[in-house]
Amino acid sequence: MKPKVVLGIIAIVAFTSLLMFNLGESISTYTDFETATEMSSAHVPGTWDSSKEYGFSKETLQFTFYMKDESGNVKKVIYPRPKPNNFEEADRLVVIGEMRNDVFYANEMLMKCPSKYNSADPSDYVKASES
């Protein structure tokens, strides 16, 4: 083989391994609140528990709510920024942060906005024939 081709192959292999290594380093795994206790930065997916109190506090400058993870644990989540737009409409949340004393401190929060039908309450509809 020509030396140029060998060099090229080495460069491509080196580049690809570095890229994949780097990607592997920056990807973590989704967990639940229980496992998150042992991690310094955990991604926990779940749903908002709207039956409990939630809201932004002017005193602490934090947004607090309760979230139910996929194993069914409900934990308090503290997010140090204002309530994001569309929070109430999201049917799925991913909080990124760490667990301390049974409270999850989120640095980041992702929301998944649904097809609206899932959250629509059928009792809200009025039959057209009656209107």
Partner: protein, 835 residues
């Protein structure tokens, strides 16, 4: 509202089916026409192609009609519109959902097909149209809605609510059920940007199909060289549309979606960027192929991959696979398998044809030298492609991440930044070398001489910006140097070309734009600062030193990035501005209950003050107990050097409303104690013309007026109305109320009539309880007033973003450069066709 019968929906599905069938038959004719070079079959194919589009237009018109006629028995109409939606947003609701956006995509693709029929020459014409038809066949199949037992092919925009949710209890109780109103368009989509951003994106998607079709035609017909001529203007056009769409999306995210910036490496953003990058790589290789008949292989592969990238990203964003990692990907409509097949076919056919013909493909006789335009341009293309690959890799984390763990998250943002920065530096330097070599032959020595002045100016600019900007990071210094080098070096070329022939400057101009963009991106993202007062800054400094602990004894690591302002109490922020909250206006115009806050900025050392008007508005939310959720619209003051970006994080008004909602919720509970509510009523006594200030309001009793006797009971002895002016301090709003007081007799007894008057915006109820003629005064009972005056405050998140304008300028230069190039290459192709 007349309702249309189910026939309409069946007709709609039929039209789409016709469109699909005509597409299928036209494919057969195009195939035969391409195989045998048969003019007649091509003409028949063209007619069928036209009919397909005609039926798609009819179907689109029917859907638009259903939307405008509020036919909520159709799921699409129900899910994306409502009665109160303004007509302009009814239009955008047409492509607000997946199904409609497929229709729009097919429509643009069809229009472009008509253009291809007119302007493409043999032998490419029939095969190009064949492949265009093939992609449309897949797109139409996404909205067919055919049922085979449990399987459905496509999601029809004409499916009814009963078809969509057959198991819902209200459908089971009454199969003919029709909702009175739809669930409406998401408030965030009610934006003028929504009206132009998606259509432009689909024009870009549709146009990016063309280079793919030409490449396939070239491989089929074994004509590997001539195809780039006609394909080039289309590719440039696709790039211009995608670029404009990306720009509009970024601007929309920045000014109305409160994302806080113009780029977040979100999968949906990446989905539009990657095809652009690969398409641009293709443009580079096509240009050198046209000039020197080399790089046929890479032009073909980039043209194929650019479209594959579009289909792949369509798969990622529409199949629901990204549901955890993206803020705004679509939910799965059951199209996962169909999209997967679409992607596999496009990729398989594309790469299959390429490798099938691979051995025949021309190779250059001798390798080009490093200092040649071919080598430089090719390297640039490879760099663009590599950047595209890195981004695809990160975006594919739900699939590729499985290599690392079972439940992979998206990569951290730093993954994208760490890789794109060095690539951008290399690209920036290459642009200058490439542009110099493109127009003139140089060897190492003459090139170095030619670059002396540009390098000198670059160094001066870099040095100046390092000193002025206080740049400490060596990596940033290198990046700045590369960016300035791209600007200066390419401007040099633009200047030289402009003297010779202005039509030639397109390429160099885009490269100047690229350099400007690089500088803007660094300045606006790395030097973003929150606007804070001195106390908060001191607190944040302590947090950074690790000196602050929370009550549980944990060290706090999060700094505060919010600013609290009390009504009419100025605060100094960043030693630069005096900021004052001057109240808010309540209006019901665009969105009921919207508050527009007035925030005044004044430079510490004088100058003209200016205002920012962030907005907060309530949205109905079915999931919250109180049914109201609050959304914000930021306001941006655009400046030449820096922007101020600001939104309201909380306010006394929103707080009060939330408390009222809570109170109403409690009242709905059966066990609640109503006396508490009554205690809150208080009585004010005042004379005619006097003023009282209570609980944040000023009440002025102007006068009595005689009540209209028509509305009074018979036997009324007294019937007066009091004219009272209610002024709300915080919002500056004035209301006029005229409560009634009447005495009437019935069966010898005297009764008082004083119906309550509601002021719903502030949840106040007034009752005119008595008249005291002896002192010329009245008594008003007011419910819902706070006993003590509540201070009015607002919490804002504000940021100073330097040089955002530079990012836009860079984008505009890129657009301008592409436009010039389109005219040049298009003009040349037109001339060729006329010959």
């Amino acid at each position: 509202m007349a309702e249309v019968g189910p026939v309409f929906g069946i007709l709609g599905k039929l039209t789409i089916t016709f469109s699909f069938l005509f597409c299928l038959i036209s494919l057969i004719y195009y195939y035969l026409a391409a195989k045998n070079e048969d003019e007649k079959k091509l003409r028949i194919g063209n007619w069928l192609f036209g009919l397909k589009g005609f039926f798609m237009i009819v179907a689109s018109a029917m859907l638009v009609w259903l939307i405008f006629k509020h036919q909520f028995q159709y799921y699409y109409v129900f899910n994306y519109t409502s009665l109160d939606l303004a007509p302009k947003y009814l239009w955008s609701a047409f492509y607000g959902g997946q199904e409609g956006s497929f229709m729009l995509w097919i429509f643009f693709s069809w229009l472009i097909g008509l253009g291809l029929m007119r302007w493409t020459r043999a032998p490419y014409k029939a095969p190009v149209l064949f492949f265009l038809g093939l992609t449309q066949l897949f797109l139409i199949s996404m909205i067919l809605g055919w049922r085979f037992g449990d399987m459905t092919l496509g999601a029809s925009p004409f499916r009814t609510i009963a078809e969509e949710m057959p198991n819902a209890p209200f459908i089971q109780a009454n199969p003919d059920f029709i909702p009175v109103d739809g669930t409406g368009l998401n408030d965030l989509l009610k934006s003028p940007w929504m009206m132009i951003h998606p259509p432009l994106l689909f024009v870009g998607f549709a146009m990016m199909t063309i280079p793919y079709c030409f490449a396939m035609a070239a491989l089929w017909k074994r004509k590997y060289n001539e195809w780039v001529g006609p394909a080039l203007p289309w590719t440039l056009g696709a790039n211009l549309s995608l670029l404009t769409a990306i720009f509009l999306g970024g601007y929309w995210a920045y000014v109305t979606l409160s994302f806080g910036g113009f780029w977040a490496w979100d999968p949906v953003e990446n989905a539009s960027l990657v095809p652009w990058l690969i398409g641009t790589a293709g443009i580079h290789t096509m240009i050198i192929q046209r000039k020197s008949s080399v790089a046929q292989k890479s032009s073909l592969i980039f043209a194929i991959l650019a479209y594959v990238a579009i289909v792949y990203e369509t798969f990622l964003t529409r199949s629901g696979i990204l549901s955890d990692s993206s803020v705004h990907s679509f939910v799965d409509l059951g199209l996962y398998n169909q999209l997967l097949i679409f992607m596999l076919v496009v990729t398989g056919v594309g790469l299959g044809m390429f490798f099938w013909r691979y051995k025949e493909l021309p190779s250059p006789d001798k390798e080009s030298k490093i200092l040649s335009r071919e080598f430089m341009t090719f390297t640039g293309a490879v760099m663009l492609f590599v950047l595209g690959l890195v981004i695809i890799l990160g975006t594919s984390s739900p699939i590729i991440g499985l290599l690392f763990n079972d439940n992979p998250t998206p990569p951290e943002i730093s993954f994208y930044n760490d890789w794109s920065m060095p690539i951008a530096i290399i690209m920036a330097i290459l642009t200058v070398l490439g542009q110099y070599l493109f127009w003139k032959k140089y060897d190492a020595e003459t090139l170095a001489t030619a670059l002396i002045y540009p390098l000198l100016i670059t160094s001066l600019l870099t040095l100046a910006s390092i000193i002025i900007g206080g740049v400490r990071n060596a990596y940033y210094m290198l990046y700045l140097f590369a960016g300035f080098f791209a600007i200066v070096g390419n401007s040099w070329v633009v200047g030289r070309l402009a003297i010779q022939n202005t039509k030639l400057i397109g390429g160099s101009l885009t490269h100047v734009g690229f350099g400007v963009l690089l500088i803007g991106i660094l300045a606006s993202t790395a030097y973003n600062r929150p606007l804070l007062d001195q106390n908060t800054e001191d607190y944040n400094a302590a947090v950074k030193r690790g000196e602050v602990q929370d009550p549980q004894g944990f060290t706090i690591s999060q700094t505060i990035e919010m600013l609290e302002l009390n009504l009419d109490e100025p605060k100094v922020i960043n030693d630069q501005y005096i900021v004052t909250y001057e109240g808010y206006d309540l209006s019901n115009q665009n969105r009921p209950g919207q508050q527009t806050y007035r925030i005044r900025f004044q430079e510490v050392d004088g100058g003209r003050p200016f205002y920012l008007y962030p907005e907060v508005y309530p949205m109905l939310a079915t999931s919250t107990p109180g049914n109201v959720s609050w959304s914000v619209d930021p306001d941006v003051r655009t400046g030449l050097l820096s922007d101020i970006y600001l939104y309201v994080a909380g306010s006394a008004f929103v707080d009060q409303r939330n408390k009222q909602i809570e109170r109403q919720q409690e009242l709905l509970q059966p066990a609640s104690d109503e006396t508490e509510d009554q205690l809150q009523a208080q009585t004010i006594e005042f004379e005619r013309g006097s003023i009282k200030e209570v609980g944040g309001f000023r009440f002025t009793f102007n006068d009595f007026i005689q009540a209209d006797s028509v509305n009074l009971p018979t036997n009324t002895s007294i019937g007066v109305r009091a004219q009272v002016e209610v002024f709300h301090f915080a919002s500056g709003q004035t209301y006029l109320i005229e409560p009634l007081f009447a005495l009437f007799e019935e069966e010898g007894q005297t009764f008082v009539l004083s119906p309550p008057v509601n002021l719903s915006t502030h949840d106040l109820v007034f009752q005119f309880t008595s008249v005291k003629p002896e002192s010329n005064s009245i008594e008003l009972s007011i419910t819902g007033l706070d006993e003590e005056y509540q201070e009015d405050w607002v919490l804002i998140v504000a940021e100073k973003k330097p040089f955002i304008s530079v990012v836009w300028t860079g984008t505009f230069l890129l657009m301008a450069g592409f436009t010039v190039s389109i005219f040049r290459h298009w003009g040349r192709e037109r001339k060729k066709s006329e010959e």
